[in-house]
């Protein structure tokens, strides 16, 4: 059981720009000090968001990793759904999936304004 090591690696990556640069430039070297299975190494380097979710990586840790990879929100949600469909339910932890594979619980609002009209920024 090396889920702890997967999460430890991601935790350190998520909070450190230096670790992110190191991982980007030489992923194998960045991962060398972590006791990981081949499945986990592949999931981290691909990156395979669905497999990482299935393995039980804490969702907050995984969400930040997906953001680091510039994975768009709806794509990120779909990758987790695909991971469950392919690999089965989350193996451990409290971040599970309770809805059906077809269910969309966070629909995107379809803009009613012209597409070239800038949206209201969410800031004072």
């Amino acid at each position: 059981m090396t889920l702890y090591a997967v999460q430890k690696f991601l935790y350190e990556l998520n909070r450190s720009e230096a670790a992110q640069h190191a991982f980007t430039s030489d992923p194998d070297a960045a991962l060398a000090d972590f006791d990981l299975t081949q499945e986990e190494l592949t999931a981290l380097t691909d990156p395979d968001i669905g497999l990482l979710f299935h393995l039980g990586v804490n969702g907050q840790i995984l969400m930040h990793f997906a953001a680091f990879h510039q994975i768009e929100w709806q794509d990120y949600l779909q990758r987790m759904r695909d991971g469950i469909a392919k690999h089965g339910p989350v193996r451990q932890g409290v971040y599970a999936m309770t809805t059906s594979a077809e269910e969309r619980v966070a629909p995107v609002h379809e803009p009613i304004t012209a597409p070239d009209e800038p949206s209201t920024p969410g800031a004072p």
């Binding site: 907050q60 409290v94 809805t99 995107v108």
Partner: protein, 272 residues
């Protein structure tokens, strides 16, 4: 002097990061409520804002997880997340290490806490500050309750911690504003993101507004997990503010589910 402000707000990253995907009318009403909360905080003229958050592995991991932690630095950097994804640029947020030391010393009289001279902010603190101190010109004292890595902080201890925070704020000469931030029912960072149990939320907020200690402590994690998701564990931050404002009743200034923000968006405060 006595605590000058006690309120709570949501902190979900979609609030800033996915602004353009929300239904504009409800989104703007929520932002207006955040603006009103900022006005209330500013009117309380705080020397520092204590933010009780439920962080998401920006600082604490399962190798050394504190039930309670308080920051003790002259500045804090954040967000750790990609700024484009969160919609908030990297900032250096002012703190006050000397005030933190005195505050923590007082809190420790009633609760066992870890202190941290290093602390990076994630969306859990950056989203509230984006609205409440948009110029980042008020010192912040970050506080964390473990709502992420089981075993979690028992809710009765979170209540006691809120009492300790109130006693500490009252004991210091500075004007301290208290902001709790978390989600109520939600399933963030899962494929269920956007699922919200509004009935559960409204019942919780009713208990919160009445500041009914027994009703607020009448939750257990298994029940919360089933009804309100793993995100519901963050009610600990709301409970701590209730404990800090014991005797005061609250007002729910705003509550609306906004699925693309992945939470029932909430702004509320106590008349302390």
């Amino acid at each position: 002097m006595p605590l000058v402000y006690a309120g709570v707000c949501s902190h979900a990253p979609g609030i800033t990061g996915r602004s353009d995907q929300a239904e504009p009318e409800v989104r703007d009403a929520f932002y207006d409520a955040f603006d009103a909360m900022r006005a209330d905080v500013e009117a309380s003229q705080p020397d520092a804002i204590v933010v009780i958050a439920a962080e998401h592995f920006a600082n604490f991991f399962m190798n050394n997880m504190p039930s309670f932690a308080i920051g003790m630095s002259d500045h804090y950097d954040g967000p750790i997340e990609d700024p484009g994804w969160l919609g908030i640029d990297k900032q250096r947020v002012p703190g006050n290490a000397e005030l933190s030391l005195r505050f923590i010393s007082e809190v420790m009289k009633g609760s066992d806490v870890s202190y941290a001279e290093e602390w990076k902010f994630d969306h859990g603190i950056m989203v509230p500050l984006h609205f409440l101190t948009p110029r980042y010109d008020t010192p912040v004292i970050p506080v964390n309750i473990n709502c992420q890595g089981p075993p979690l902080t028992p809710i009765e201890r979170a209540w006691n911690f809120g009492e300790s925070i109130r006693a500490a704020a009252d004991a210091l000469p500075e004007r301290i504003a208290l902001v709790g931030t978390g989600g109520i029912s939600h399933w963030p960072a899962t494929p269920d993101s956007g699922k919200i149990n509004t009935e559960w939320d409204r019942d919780f907020l009713d208990r919160w507004a009445r500041n009914d200690r027994d009703a607020l402590l009448d939750y257990d994690d298994l029940g919360v997990y089933a009804e309100a998701g793993q995100g519901g564990f963050e009610i600990r931050t709301f409970l701590a503010v209730s404990a800090a404002a014991q005797g005061a009743t609250g007002t729910i200034h705003f509550y609306e589910p906004i699925p693309i923000f992945a939470v029932g968006c909430t702004i509320a405060s106590y008349a302390i």
